[in-house]
Each structure stands twice: as structure tokens, then as C-alpha cells.
Subunit: 342 residues, 2 copies
DNA sequence: AAATAGTACCGAAAAGTTTCGATTTGCATA
DNA sequence: TATGCAAATCGAAACTTTTCGGTACTATTT
């Protein structure tokens, strides 16, 4: 390719059959390039190994920074994942820029935000359990900024890597554990219905029941928020049913802890009268009384994995999978036992 | 100046009697411009009010960055403070760079680290509950980077602003609350003896006792770690004493939650047989059963305040105080009651 | 003093980016 | 069907930045 001179934009442009500005726009992630054209130009760029001067400078530049977007910090879940991210970050020599969406949802102006990201030499982004539309993701993708989404609320789009755990299998394990103890009336306290992982957990629960030939009862399945007070509320509803369920599978530890707290208040003894299984494996689950049996997600590992994936993408590797699922592990503690009256 | 067209480099260049590249170099701080020439060009630039496109973008986009150093993320305490910092950060339009010291202590090379901080345009630093020697702090101070320390483990040095809560008064309130209920044998489960806030809380406890003319018993005062398992361990020790204390003041909520959990295991009923007061006001304290009476630090407010102080210092203000203490508030919940046998 | 080397400074030319108008296309409307 | 309108796409031209070589000046050597 190189005939004496340095590799230049116009050479790439000529080969791609477009003008110099168009190539520049592709490199800088402008929107006014047809997808078709962009692809062709990118191919030539790839092949020729062209690097724009700014790209080049950036690759020499100081410590890479990864931006981490969280929805809120008040759950143990987020903190734990963040801790994992920090692990990998210090190990990998990158820094972490934390940004919180708060209640306002994500990024007022994704295009501008993405541009700022690359301007300031940020090399990737991790989104933790937030709804993230396709439009903003595209803004990052066009600029070649790798994005990893952890436990996305909405189904992740094509071009983004998502990291999570084996939600379906985990809920199935939890339910199977209760079935093995002899429970037959098992309730499920889910998360918001629209949320991806929530659905997977529900289906794991249903699958376990079905495999034992047990029909799921609608009134035992209550969707709600991933919050302890909403767990407490729903337990009150469950206790009004006749016959009562003898066990509860909660879609998160926060829900399960709410159930345990409310059970104590209602004089329902756990696990003698009611077994409870949580999901997530946050720290508080170990410390509750009785200690919570739960499906532990390797939250720290998930955080670590997310950052490693970013780093690999920055290094030019193509991720071998759009979805990474880490195995959950059922941790049996004190909140589950054989059903009452047996 | 503007004769119909937009203000452009070449106009400035013409007026200054130099070429366009030279003006560009002045703007971009290149070295190959004579001091004399630079001055002249700068004058014209000033006069004409020219802003280069990148300057313009930057003024729209550049967001100041504050570095936050935490020791670890696995306590609710840190997460809560961080949430407060994020509050102020989003409100104040700054970004937060998170860095974790982990177990390895702080900054391998403070001098270098401080330099990098200013190079990358970071405008301040917040240190959350970490030991932080004077040497690194000085490195920042010399470079004019404001540093705020939240609840420092060691006594903060002269040149740094520290933010905390009224530890002494808070512990005194907690103890007074128990005294008012009629308790006379009150134990104190402290943090590590060397830690500043831990000492203040101990002295608040002692002061409350003294004000009622009660002598502190050494065997009722146990130092230890800010961890729930260490709280549980120390409760076991307390229960062996004769006479047993009827109430416990814990120097942190984590300790207190450990006490509650262990009490449940040991069949000691709270608050009927033992009253417990915590300190911090983390989220889990609300959700425990029984709900924990605690001295709530305004953790979020502390985080918010820390960042605001940084921002004011960046704005050129001189902090009016080296030490900011936010008031604690005794939150009476279910874990305290009159002593048994009355 | 002359030659040489080194360096600071500048601008022509090359490279890259942005603006803006021209062209096309899709789609709703007359 | 014709017409208008808005959005998408692209490149020419305008603009900015960078590279690179030349000039002039100074210091050093011969």
C-alpha cells in the first residue's frame, strides 16, 4: 500500500471511493454517513491500518480511563460490582470514572456525552443495571468506544457485550433445592416484569416446578420492586392466602431480607414455618438472622469480568461472545428447611 | 472586527502580521514561537475575542474532575458517603474519578500521583476514611490541589480540611438516651483504638456516664474492629460477665448489627434483655429486626459537603474552617428499652 | 576571521476537520 | 399523480492544525 509516503486520509478515501471529509467523519463518528458507506470505509481503514493523529496521540497518552455508569449506589449489589470493577481496574492500570444516572435516567444528550468521552481519552464504558436505549449505545459504537452492560434492564442490543449471571439456572437451582426439601407450595417474589434478568429467574422457577410435574399457581407469583419493603408487603399478601405457601423464592436478596424481617414481625418463624431463598449473594445476606440461603452471583467476578472485557476490546480484540454469563452458586444457610408438618 | 464573515484565524494572523500557522501555534501553546511574537498575537487574540473551535467545544464540554479515594467499598458507610458525593457532583457539574486504595495502603508514589492529577486537570481530591500521611498531602498542597478528608483515621494535618460528624456529642447522646431509660451498666464496643473518631466516641460515652456520676468499668469497654463479626465476638465476651451489662453502645452500626445477630443466636432478646445503640445510620440499620436505634451520621450530607468544599476551594475561596462537623441525630427505633427487671 | 554546528523561529505545504449547500430519497399532502 | 417538506447523505470549500524545511542568529571550533 505505501508507496514511499506516509499513510494518509486521502489514500484511504481514494481507495474507498469517497471524499476525504467522509473518511474523516467515519473516524470521528459523525452521523452524516450512510451505514453502508461507513462499513466500506471502516473495512479499508482496518485493512490499511490507518491511525488518525489524534488516535495515535491518545494511544500514547497517560492512564486510560473507563467510565462506569450506575443507577444508584444504595444497593449492596451495585457496591459489590463496583468493588469488582475496581479490582480489575487497579490490576489493569486503568482508572475509573464514576457517574450516576440518579433518577433522571441516562445521559441527557448521548451524542455530546459520547463525544466528550472520546475527547477526554476515555477508552470504554461499563453500564451497571440501567436501562440504556439503543440510540446512546450507537453513539458510542460509532466512535469505537467499547461498551459493556451489566445485567441490563432491557434486552441488550446487537452491538454491545452484556455480562450477567445464569439467572435461569440459578432460580431453577433455588427452586429445586426447596422441592428437594419437600416443599410443594412455593411462591415466587419477582422483580419488575419488564426487566430481563427478572424474567429469566421467573422462568427458571417455573421450569423447576414443571420438571416435578407441579403446576405453577398464579397467586403465588408476585412481581414487584427489588426492594425490601416491597418484599415485606408481598409477604403480607402471601400470608393471607389459603393454603399458604411453605416457601418463597425471592428474585433478589433485598426482597428476601424484607421477607425475613416481615416474618419476624408477623411471628412467622423462619425456616420452621416458612423457607426463604434469595438471589444475588450480597453481604447482608450472610449477616441476617437466620442467615439467608441464596443464589449467589459472583458479583465481584462480574465486575472484574466486565472491566477485563473492556480492556481486551481496547486492545483490539473482538469479543468472542455478545453475552457472558457467570455461574451462580446456591449457598445454603439457615433460612431453608423441610416444610412444616412433615 | 467582523466584516460580514465569522471571525477567523487568518484575520487575526493578518492583523498581527504573522502567518496563520503561527497564530494556531500560539493558541495551542506550541513552543516554537518567539516570546515577542506570542505576546503580540495574544494581544490581538484578546482584543478580537477569537476562540478556536476546540477551545469553544472545550468550554462547553470540559467538566472538572474530582478524584475520590476510598479504602474499600464493602461497607454501607462508604457507599452512602459516595452517594452523597455523587449528589453534589451531578448537581455541581463535576465528574468523579474513583480510586481504591484496597489493602495496599495509599499511593505508592504520592509525588508522581499528585503530578499526574494536575496534568490531567483534576481539580481536587476527597479521601474517605483512609490513613493518609502528611507527605502525600503536602505533595498535593504544594501543587494547589485542594484535598478534603472525610473521617480521617489519623488526626488530620494542618493544611487539609476534614469533614466528619460530631462523634463526641453523638456518643454522649446515645449513652444519655440509655441512661434516661434507666440503664446503669452500659458497655461500649469501640473501633480500633488509634482511630480518631473512635476515640471521640469513647470519650462521649465516658462523659455521659460521668455527668451522671457513674464510674466507667473497664471490662465493659472493649475496643475492636468496625465489623459485625467482631461485634458478635465481643458480645459473647460481655455475656460472660457478672453482672452483665444491660445495654451496649456500639461505635458503629456494623458492630451493633453483629451484636443483634449474635443476641438472636444466643437467645438474648433485644430490647427486653439487652438494649443496643449503633452509630452511623447506615441503611441496614433500618431494616434489621428489631430496627436499630442509632446515632445517625448524615452520611450523604457529609459526602455532599465534602464535594462542595472542594468546589469552593477550586473557585478560589479560602475555607473558613479546617474542620467541618455535621450534627448527628439520635434515631430511636426498636432496639432500646428500659432495662430488664424494672 | 572563517567555517561549522546548533538552535530558535517562522511559514509553505500537507493533512485533517468542520461547515454548509446541493442532491437525493421517503413520505405525507393537495 | 403531482407537490411540498423534511431528513439523510455527501463533497466542495473554508478553516485549523501539523509537518517539515528554510532562514537567521549564536556559539564553538579551526
Amino acid at each position: 500500500m505505501q508507496n514511499g509516503r506516509r499513510l494518509t486520509l486521502s489514500a484511504v478515501a481514494r481507495q474507498a471511493g469517497v471524499s476525504v471529509p467522509t473518511v474523516s467523519k467515519v473516524i470521528n463518528g459523525r452521523t452524516d454517513v450512510a451505514a453502508e458507506t461507513r462499513k466500506r470505509v471502516l473495512a479499508i481503514l482496518e485493512e490499511s491500518g490507518y491511525r488518525s493523529p489524534v488516535q495515535h496521540r491518545r494511544s500514547l497518552a497517560a492512564v486510560p480511563v473507563v467510565e462506569v455508569v450506575v443507577d444508584s449506589l444504595n444497593s449492596g449489589y451495585t457496591a459489590e460490582v463496583l468493588a469488582g470493577i475496581m479490582d480489575s481496574a487497579t490490576a489493569g492500570g486503568v482508572e475509573v470514572l464514576l457517574s450516576s444516572t440518579g433518577s433522571r435516567g441516562v445521559a441527557p444528550n448521548p451524542e455530546q456525552r459520547a463525544q466528550r468521552l472520546v475527547d477526554q481519552g476515555r477508552c470504554g464504558m461499563i453500564v451497571v443495571t440501567s436501562a440504556f436505549g439503543d440510540a446512546p449505545l450507537d453513539a458510542f459504537h460509532r466512535r469505537g468506544v467499547p461498551v459493556v452492560v451489566i445485567d441490563p434492564l432491557n434486552p441488550p442490543s446487537e452491538e454491545v457485550v452484556s455480562v450477567g449471571c445464569t439467572d435461569w439456572a440459578g432460580a431453577k437451582d433455588a427452586t429445586a433445592h426447596l422441592l428437594a426439601l419437600g416443599h410443594r407450595r412455593i411462591a415466587f417474589l419477582g422483580g419488575p416484569e419488564a426487566v430481563e434478568c427478572s424474567q429469566a429467574r421467573l422462568h427458571g422457577y417455573l421450569a423447576a416446578l414443571r420438571s416435578q410435574g407441579i403446576a405453577a399457581e398464579d397467586r403465588y407469583v408476585l412481581a414487584g420492586e427489588f426492594r425490601s419493603d416491597d418484599g415485606a408487603r408481598r409477604l403480607r399478601d402471601l400470608l393471607l392466602l389459603d393454603p399458604r405457601p411453605t416457601a418463597v423464592v425471592a428474585a433478589s436478596d433485598t426482597i428476601a431480607l424484607g421477607v425475613i424481617a416481615e416474618a419476624l414481625r408477623q411471628q412467622v418463624r423462619i425456616p420452621q414455618q416458612l423457607s426463604v431463598v434469595g438471589f444475588d449473594g450480597i453481604r447482608q445476606a450472610e449477616e441476617s438472622v437466620p442467615a439467608l440461603t441464596t443464589v449467589a452471583q459472583p458479583l465481584r467476578d462480574i465486575g472484574r469480568a466486565a472491566l477485563r472485557i473492556i480492556l481486551r476490546q481496547v486492545g483490539g480484540e473482538v469479543p468472542d461472545s455478545r453475552r457472558v454469563e457467570l455461574a451462580t452458586k446456591l449457598v445454603v444457610r439457615e433460612s431453608t428447611a423441610v416444610p412444616p408438618g412433615e
